[in-house]
Symmetry: C2
Subunit: 338 residues, 2 copies
């Protein structure tokens, strides 16, 4: 049997992760017990949420135990099996780890997927995976869109944000404004993803951001799909329309900070009788097939562009993960392992 | 005609209001034009929201113009009238100013009230006024209560908070926890207002507050009725149950601060798929009769205790208003003018 390279969490990051928090080790491939199957991981999904699982704090999922591989959704192929329903050669999707080989359990979270039904099997980690479903259900269910809404998407060039902007247009938004970092990303928002307007947050403080949003949405915004937090959320809060809905998907600006900023301008929620609602894709697992079908149709009809940024090599796990916070990825961040 | 003493806003407060921001002047009683009537103000409602109207900032109501009397809801008696439907001797309720005499306009916001239908005409400024309707509709409509809910009320000994706790019990809450400042207020919560538990916030930082709430609600809280903000809201956010609703009524801890703190722990909204929704009583004006009828019935049945704290004398306007922020009032703060 070949070796199993595993990217372990060996120390809890204090603020921004550093390389010493992790260790790439080589171990023997584990033996299978009855009911188990061996997965050769091909691709791992790198998501900001993983940063939260590295902390020893109460959350929607237990922390990654120290000494365990970094938890990630992967797609791979069944290599060997002592479990009914899983046969060698079959593609599977599951919440496993950044490692060459993971052990799956029948009845667990790993499920067979149809690799032939999609342009690339990586689509199961992006547009048809948690990222795509977060955009779909987060926008449609949590933001309660109405035709003609003015929609603000933050982190708009990211994997979730770029999909949200496109879904908003498909679903009848009046105007979709995206906030992203840098001229290149902003050009991508309006050029590639069909946003009506893009705001570059770089070099802008809360006041300048507030003014920039107001210039694009003089009457205020009906929906904010929030991925970032900090100054960007505070500026959004200063531009609410009556009854605005803020879907809180992420706060990437503070995942690596020790002091939480949160939302300083929540008094504006009172002024405009607006709301902030937290969203997590796990709530919609039972409806993934429904969301996946609609997203796949849009993809085939050319209505949806879903970019993926694939870095190769498990030895590059740390650098690839840190791209998420530097914003140097262009599309859904995926690590090619096999 | 007698003189008209008026408590004017002459300078916008910079943070905490000081006496020099106001001026008590004596002017002639104004002449009436056709369609107008003269109100002899007897009582003025002193509310935290008035502080917001003193700032020159976008809000749900225009700022109080400098040189105008401080805006307040008052009850008074029609003294003279050139307006149809308003006759001398009639009691009226309206958004006027802290002054002996205000001029009302037919078709404006001042309406006749039935002084004989209530134990005290001041009830129109407390339990049957904006304060009572804020508690009633804010809890029932914005917090979406369900039987058995664990409810946390902040600013619980205040005019709104003390009513919310009682309404929650009447409407079937499983446990109602109040947060207030000092042992005396806490004793009032459990003794007089029927809260199940009281937490004294004095001397407690966010961590200690978080632990104190957890001790009373080990499974978390379903509803927070938030009047305070700051550390108290942050501690509440650390104790949410899945799907918790936070009704954001006020943020009295930061009305006099220049730097807004807001809500630092909103990441917990994602963890628990919880929401914060701003509420303003003005949205429910059309339903005041409905809310007033139910509140009046509870009062008569002895199910509801509604305390009022009346300070006398327009010359004491500043000190009486500042009680709201010192928390030295016991019940709805009312200024007796006549």
């Amino acid at each position: 049997m070949p070796d199993n390279r595993r990217f372990l969490l060996v120390r809890r990051p204090n603020g921004e992760p550093v390389e010493e928090d992790f260790s790439l080790v080589t171990e023997p491939v584990p033996e299978l017990a009855d009911g188990q199957f061996l997965i050769r991981n091909h691709y791992a999904s790198l998501d900001p949420a993983i940063r939260g699982w590295m902390d020893d704090a109460p959350s929607y999922m237990p922390p990654i135990p120290l000494g365990d591989p970094v938890r990630a959704t992967t797609v791979g192929v069944v290599e060997a099996s002592k479990a009914e329903g899983f046969v060698p050669g079959q593609w599977v999707l599951g919440l496993n780890g950044i490692e060459d080989y993971s052990v799956g359990v029948a009845g667990g979270f790993t499920q067979p997927i149809d690799a032939d039904a999609v342009p690339s099997v990586t689509n199961y980690l992006s547009v048809l995976g948690a990222v795509g479903m977060t955009a779909y259900f987060g926008y449609i269910e949590v933001c309660e869109p109405r035709p003609g809404d003015v929609v603000l998407v933050t982190g708009a060039a990211g994997a979730v944000g770029s999909l949200v902007g496109q879904i908003a247009k498909i679903k009848g938004a009046g105007k979709v404004i995206g906030i992203a970092g840098g001229a290149e990303k902003c050009a991508r928002l309006t050029g590639r993803y069909g946003f009506d307007a893009a705001i570059d947050y770089r070099g802008k403080d809360v006041r300048a951001l507030t003014d920039a949003i107001r210039a694009e949405a003089p009457e205020g915004v009906d929906i904010i799909f929030e991925n970032v937090g900090g100054d960007i959320l505070d500026a959004g809060l200063m531009n609410l329309r009556h009854g605005a809905r803020i879907g809180l998907c992420g706060l990437i600006s503070e995942y690596n900070t020790l002091e939480k900023v949160g939302a300083r301008n929540i008094w504006q929620l009172i002024v405009h009788r607006a709301s902030i609602r937290g969203l997590l894709v796990a709530d919609y697992i039972a409806r993934f097939a429904e969301g996946g079908a609609e997203m796949a149709a849009w993809l085939q009809q050319g209505k949806l562009v879903a970019d993926e940024h694939v870095d190769a090599g498990i030895e590059n796990s740390f650098d690839a993960f840190m791209r998420l916070f530097a914003g140097s990825n262009q599309g859904k961040m995926i690590l090619k392992i096999a």
